[in-house]
Symmetry: C2
Subunit: 188 residues, 2 copies
């Protein structure tokens, strides 16, 4: 039986629909990627995650590992590469899994979807999903990596004070006022 993490394939599909909202092919590929990485993790109980794209992969990681956006164990780097890494958080030893475009040659539906070779309305979602399920880890490559812990250290929030601009609490390390009051506000 096909397993993704500790779930059956069908259980994982249900999780994807419930959490992510739709059956994105990237989430299913991402599930197989996380599964492959977890099977090859270096020893050590605690690991962090990197996604090299903000699209889809972060949700596969959040569904299948303890790493989430809000607990700080998942880091998203917006490289637009379809790759993820799980690594031991103190030493930085880890495994990286990426979608290997050379291996896509044998899977025309996945290739066509990934490289957007057809307009979306001409794509056959079911055919894409069927190939993804059949291919599993056969379209990805695993590498050993060492993460530079310096680049990924989330600085402690540190001292908190009330911003003289908005009156809300903010981290003092950001300066005399909070970043929103210093021009970054997204509100009109």
């Amino acid at each position: 039986m096909i397993k993704i993490g500790t779930y059956s394939y069908d259980e994982y599909i249900q999780l994807v629909k419930s959490f992510h909202g739709n059956m994105a092919p990237g989430l299913i590929i991402g599930g197989f990627m996380v599964d492959l990485a977890m099977k090859n993790l270096p020893p050590g109980e605690f690991y962090d995650a990197i996604c090299e794209t903000a699209v889809c992969l972060p949700d596969s990681v959040q569904l299948l590992t303890p790493c989430t956006t809000g607990n700080g164990w998942l880091k998203v780097l917006e490289f637009g590469r379809f790759a993820l890494t799980l690594y031991e958080k103190y030493g930085g030893e880890g495994v990286r899994v990426y979608l290997d475009t050379e291996k896509l040659e044998k899977w025309p539906e996945i290739k066509s979807w990934f490289f957007k070779l057809k307009p979306k309305k001409e794509q056959n979602l079911q055919a894409i999903l069927d190939q993804i399920k059949e291919a599993g880890a056969a379209i990805m490559t695993l590498q050993k990596v060492r993460v530079d812990p310096k680049t990924l250290h989330r600085p402690k929030l540190g001292k908190v004070a009330v911003c003289p601009g908005c009156g809300e609490a903010y981290p003092v390390r950001d300066g005399e006022r909070c970043r929103a009051c210093r021009g970054e506000t997204p509100y009109l």
Copy 2:
């Protein structure tokens, strides 16, 4: 009975433990914040979310709304303000909820936790959680806001090509090589 979104308080606690990994006070406050925002949403079926901190709040949003990191409906702005916004994604009309430090005066355990007035080992987690549950929305303030849609538009991935540096697929808009190959790699 206290409800958080469609869940009972205890159901939400279970979700937090399972998804976030521990009983972070910020996740519980975040649950009440999302709940308050949802009850005051402008009409319209589709909304996006903003968290103004990466700490805790993104997980409350992901647990209680359809917005996730991987589906692009949740945006994290690292302002370090304990605030979140739900807004109608086309017009930008929305509601923002923030932890109101003036209202914390009546809740000494929450205030002491939030401003880190005591070393962590002297904190009494249960006392903090008890006050959070009792306070509910009483420690927050709701504002109507309009989000500038320009600032939050996630650019389409666009054309995908193979990077001559690493041989992996990347978005052409990033330049001749992918961002990792142009010096941003986190790997040693």
